[in-house]
């Protein structure tokens, strides 16, 4: 799999004495949808934030479509890229956050336009047309002139997804996209994400929502304490988990549901 969309090779990451990622290694093929499961603090979010270099890494390397992210290979060492170079790399890596993080001082429309206009240099008209298309596709065209605070959590998250898609990203990283939502609002966001999966986006979704992992993810990666415990096709993961730790994790979800 040398033509992987995402490749994480032996990545170490620590916060002070705390090792968050330990020699982490994974690959995601183009068009593949991967769920990242694991208890809180297992390193799921950190992994996603390392992939677009929102966090630096201590060792190893991360490649998107074959190109090294955040660093330049100098033979005997990796040299961190400049702010400008890293920013350029992030344009093609979309990220959706647990807390939506819509820009509060901008209208919904402006939120979706700002990436193409201010980062990609598209014209206002071009950015507006595309933003309206995207808002329509997440079912929120009529909210274009509202401010984020006037929207429900589910609506905000759908706008955040539209804002990310406006950059035409090659891969999408979703960091617990439904965790901050009331249970009755998760459905609309899950439906939006399912649509992206069907459209062929390469995605990594850190989540606690089993329905995301079981219904439309191709693969499930289960992490505990910064290490991958199990990496299996979604069906196999839920039907025949190979590891005891996975079985415990899944059993807890089953009991919670009852």
């Amino acid at each position: 799999m040398s033509n992987s969309a995402i490749r994480v090779v032996d990545v170490d990451k620590s916060y002070g004495p705390l090792l968050v990622l330990k020699k982490l290694r994974l690959e995601v093929a183009p068009g593949e949808v991967v769920a990242l499961l694991g208890p809180s603090g297992s390193g799921k979010s950190t992994l996603l934030r390392c992939i677009n270099h929102l966090e630096t890494i201590d060792a190893g390397r991360i490649l998107i479509n074959g190109s090294l992210i955040g660093y330049e290979d100098k033979g005997d060492h990796l040299l961190q890229l400049s702010d400008r170079q890293i920013s350029a790399q992030r344009r093609s890596i979309g990220m959706v956050f647990q807390s939506f993080n819509l820009f509060r001082h901008m209208t919904v429309l402006r939120n979706v336009m700002t990436g193409p206009m201010d980062v990609l240099g598209h014209s206002r008209e071009q950015a507006r047309t595309r933003a309206m298309e995207l808002l329509a596709s997440v079912g929120l065209a009529e909210k274009a002139d509202f401010y984020p605070s006037q929207l429900s959590g589910g609506q905000q998250q759908r706008v955040a997804i539209a804002r990310t898609l406006a950059m035409d990203p090659k891969v999408l990283l979703l960091d617990e996209p439904t965790s901050a939502l009331d249970p009755e609002l998760t459905g609309e966001v899950i439906a939006t994400i399912r649509k992206l999966a069907n459209e062929g986006y390469t995605m990594m979704i850190a989540t606690h929502e089993m329905s995301i992992a079981s219904e439309f993810c191709d693969r499930v990666i289960f992490m505990v304490d910064g290490e991958i415990v199990e990496d299996s096709p979604a069906q196999a993961f839920f039907n025949n988990p190979r590891h005891e730790r996975t079985r415990q994790f899944l059993a807890r979800y089953e009991t919670n549901r009852q």
Partner: protein, 282 residues
């Protein structure tokens, strides 16, 4: 009132208690204020005709205008200075952060009046000539004796801006830190450079948070401009003082000055309210 539907609980009036203590206290306050005003009128502390005459005299108006300009320019300069030092403070670089902290300590820790006198008196001694030249060449762009450059206005503006900048930098730092870190993450994830994150996301949001406190500082600054009277700048208080030291109508002239400071404060308050309405909290 709706008909009683439950026989054992007939519909009756609901009576709430009134806070008599607060009403009593209000009466006492009104009485106190009235006593003070009556005492002033009985003692004839002020010639109203003279007061009204000086209120619109050209000298006073120029003084008031100078005060407004000095206070406004100093506030604007202080915002720029404050932003720079606030950014240094949050830069994460230990040397820049300590320089910023030291600046704030010194300039917030010494009276503004001392700072003004320092700029006016000490700087011309420390540097007798001000020269702007291109380094390593003989080309001189500007050269002048310092005393000619550091006029009372320049000294007052520099002194007030630097003193106020220390307060502003703390206000701005608090504003910058109040912007949710998720906003920065989202902006960076979109591919914005650090500068774009600052200009398009952090500063606009911080500005809204800073606005009430900055408006407060502007009002303080309009009045602090009166300190410039100590170094001979012809602002409102200096003009009033000059006039009453020759005709001894102290109360009238102080009242005239107070009146114009109140007008300036009303202007600043209206400006702040307008800005807060134009940029509501989102």
């Amino acid at each position: 009132m709706s008909e009683a539907t439950t026989p054992e609980f007939p519909t009756v009036r609901v009576v709430h208690r009134s806070d008599w203590g607060a009403w009593l206290l209000s009466l006492v306050c009104i009485a106190l204020v009235a006593t003070i005003i009556l005492a002033g009128i009985r003692a004839e502390i002020m010639d109203v005709g003279l007061f009204l005459g000086y209120m619109v005299s050209p000298q006073i108006l120029i003084g008031a205008w100078n005060a407004l300009m000095l206070g406004t320019l100093a506030t604007l300069a202080a915002m720029v200075v404050g932003l720079i030092f606030a950014l240094m403070r949050v830069s994460g670089n230990p040397i820049l952060a300590s320089i910023s902290a030291t600046y704030v300590y010194f300039f917030r820790g010494t009276p503004m009046l001392i700072q003004l006198m320092f700029w006016f008196n000490a700087v011309p001694i420390m540097f007798d000539q001000i020269v702007i030249a291109i380094p390593f060449t003989d080309m001189v762009l500007f050269q002048s004796p310092t005393t000619r450059v550091i006029t009372p206005f320049v000294a007052a503006l520099a002194g007030l801006s630097l003193a106020e900048g220390a307060y502003m930098s703390e206000i701005i730092r608090a504003g910058l830190q109040a912007v949710d870190t998720g906003q920065r993450s989202a902006a960076r994830a979109l591919g914005m450079t650090n500068r774009q994150v600052l200009n398009r996301v952090v500063v606009p949001q911080a500005a809204r948070i800073i606005l009430p406190a900055a408006g407060n500082q502007y009002i303080m600054m309009l009045k602090s401009s009166s300190l410039a009277s100590a170094i001979g700048y012809l602002e409102l208080l200096r003009v009033a003082t000059d006039i009453y030291s020759s005709n001894f109508r102290v109360v009238e002239l102080l009242a005239v000055a107070a009146f114009w400071y109140l007008v300036m404060t009303a202007f600043a308050t209206a400006l702040q309210t307008g800005l807060e309405k134009a940029f509501p909290h989102r």
